[in-house]
Symmetry: C2
């Protein structure tokens, strides 16, 4: 089974756990049996590998997410990096080309494309296998999954099939309707469109060459920025007459708001939390190192992270976006491929952060024009390179770096350090990278 997971944007609707560089799919919120937590992307990846240990999984995403993906899924997962956002058709064309040209998959094989963030059970992946098999048969150019609707939702597009067979020809698609129209569609046997579909690689490759002038993956990647933004629906689906749909009646949830996310959480508390017995239907997700105490609340979600604190009635939480858009704050926490960082203190002419480097990993070799830096190693051991000079470091060592000086640190064991940045105009953009000499 070949599967492309579309890993989308910034997800402000789950602020403060998601931000411009941490999308909701990376929040570790689902408790495993062993007491650890996994994110949406880790859960889906684990479920895919359970359904098919040999599945080729490729994540189509922007470069801002690459670090977080490697950090959460390891180095072996395929990533089709979009150099910039160009809507769904260019993204799918690029991922398809990546599978054939980089991963070397036979163009006769099929591939499944689906969002990275549905909350589903194992039966969903069994359905994906059948979808893949159906696409490989070649009866249709596109095969979609249609979710059996549980209520006349206004949130989804609808698929109208020819009949009520398990696999049926698609007659037409309907955009997100009113509740009234949705009821009517459901009477006619309509299904929710969850954006899950499969096709033969060669079919999509031909489509891509029809619409875009490129030779191979590398060429397409290079000229990606010049491509016209166009949706997959508009470019392909609306013009395609050979489309089938396969019914799926299992659990399928879109965890896009705090309301739906907390329903799926399983337990009410993550992190250091307390609740009195007068709390009802309260969920607390606390990523800060200090306790959260809730008393006498009903139907409330509390979410605390280094970015901020949300306390919201669950229904009201779906109106969060305009408020979060107003927040103009630097990123306070980020996961990177090499580890993570967290802002500890912000002053006008200094910034103090805590950096955790995973064992064997290092930062880029880089310099800053407008700031000095001081590192204090607080645990672990490693190697610093400062202006070409190598030095072993361990807990308690202090490294001072003047503006302009090139520096990096490599962790032997997991290594934590406190970094104090000093200067006027401290900015994430003040960074020049160099190859190691």
């Amino acid at each position: 089974m070949n599967i492309v997971l579309l890993s989308g944007g910034s997800g402000k609707r789950l602020w403060p756990l998601s931000n411009d560089i941490r999308s909701k799919q990376f929040i570790k919120i689902f408790k495993n049996e062993d007491g650890t937590y996994e994110s949406m992307v880790q859960r889906v990846y684990r479920q895919i590998k359970k359904a098919d240990a040999n599945a080729t999984v490729t994540i189509a995403t922007s470069k801002t997410q690459v670090s977080a993906i490697h950090n959460q899924l390891g180095e072996n997962v395929g990533i089709s990096v979009e150099p910039c956002r160009r809507d769904t058709f260019p993204a799918i064309a690029l991922a398809t080309s990546y599978l054939v040209d980089v991963q070397g998959i036979d163009p006769e094989e099929s591939v499944i494309v689906c969002p990275v963030d549905p909350y589903v059970e194992d039966d969903y992946f069994e359905a994906l296998k059948r979808l893949s098999d159906q696409a490989e048969k070649g009866e249709a150019n596109l095969v979609l999954i249609g979710m059996e609707p549980t209520y006349p939702s206004e949130k989804y597009g609808y698929i109208i099939p020819e009949n009520s067979e398990k696999t049926a020809k698609v007659v037409t698609f309907k955009e997100k309707p009113t509740t009234e129209a949705a009821k009517e569609y459901i009477k006619q046997g309509a299904l929710w469109n969850g954006g899950v579909f499969a096709y033969k690689l060669k079919y999509m490759l031909n489509k891509a060459h029809e619409l875009i002038d490129f030779t191979d993956y590398q060429d397409l990647f290079t000229k990606y920025e010049t491509l016209t933004k166009i949706s997959f629906d508009y470019a392909v689906v609306e013009k395609e007459s050979h489309i089938q749909v396969m019914r799926f009646a299992g659990q399928w949830k879109d965890l896009g708001t705090w309301n739906t996310l907390t329903e799926a959480m399983g337990e009410c508390n993550v992190g250091d939390t307390m609740m009195n017995e007068k709390c009802e239907n309260v969920h607390i997700i606390n990523e800060l190192g200090i306790p959260v105490l809730a008393m006498g609340l009903h139907d409330v979600v509390i979410s605390a992270s280094p970015e901020g604190i949300l306390v919201s009635d669950k229904e009201q939480s779906s109106y969060i976006k305009p408020f979060v858009d107003k927040i103009d704050q630097q990123i306070m926490f980020a996961e990177k491929s090499w580890g993570s960082f967290r802002v500890l203190d912000v002053e006008e002419e200094s910034l103090t952060i805590k950096v955790t480097l995973n064992a064997g990993h290092s930062m880029n070799y880089h310099s800053h024009k407008y700031r000095d830096e001081v590192w204090v190693v607080i645990s672990g051991s490693g190697l610093t390179i400062v202006d070409g000079m190598e030095q072993k470091v361990r807990t308690g060592d202090v490294i001072t770096m003047q503006a302009g000086c090139r520096h990096t640190i490599k962790a032997e064991t997991e290594l934590k350090l406190v970094e104090v940045q000093l200067g006027r105009g401290i900015s994430v953009h003040d960074k020049q990278k160099f190859p190691l000499e």
Copy 2:
């Protein structure tokens, strides 16, 4: 006017803004006209000085509060420091002795004793002046203020006066009653006992010598720890037949819970906060440097500080104490006479804090047995002394101190530094102080 303000204990009921070393009276929560904030103790002190610019104000408290008092009221306020807690009679005896022996006040003068934390208006201090004058007349040994009850409260003790005159002899006192009993008392003309009273200094000095064997203030201070715990009510009030009460009908609020405190706050938001229009009767006090967003909440108080985060229905907030008792966490923030500190990061074998020294102030000269320390000056300038060696320091300077080394820093301007503590068994108790050589 001589006034002794009794500044009480830890005030866990206003967690997370109050903690073992920051009592509720030091929380800056009342907005001034110029946009700054003042604490209960600052407000009361300002109100006293407005009523009587020459008032002698003495704060009777434990040594843990001395730093915060100097920090908020300056160096000129009198402080009668209780070496340990020994209930109200020893505390009042010590403060009385302090006024006579240290401040040199004539024992014929009267003094008013009252709690530091009532939320009152200017008329309250006019009533205190009348109380002081009445005590000086010598018609009674103790003169109390009786608050006109506004409802049959179970929270207060009651004073039963002989008649309904402005100033009347006290017939008897009643402990906190049931609502039914309170109604009955109020019918009889009873008044609330707010713990506000006045006496001539020599009266209390005589009482103190009757019950405690001591020569003068210094002697009493030295043997304070050996004194028996005994309340002022039990030791003095219950045995005294010459007591008067003066009626007071102005505003008098006890801001002991989040519910009553938020009522007095004036505005709903302190710090970086946002609320949507569906919030009703919501108060947010945010001392963290990250935004708090509230949506669709009713009758809720949100309080966020370096110690933790409370989200509570206002009524329920009065049941907070047992939950806070369970929290076993180090102090994350404290105001000191020399400035303040805040914990930024806690690891098993390191602790990172931010220290702010006020201009002209310095730490104690001290050493640690079990930890090394690193200072990074992030703003300001000053002078370090490390094992007797003086050195000027300014922004960007790094000072490393091995365990055992004696060190201090004196701020010329306001000076901020990041301190990284490194070692096993980091503890506030690992500190030895030295005189400067």
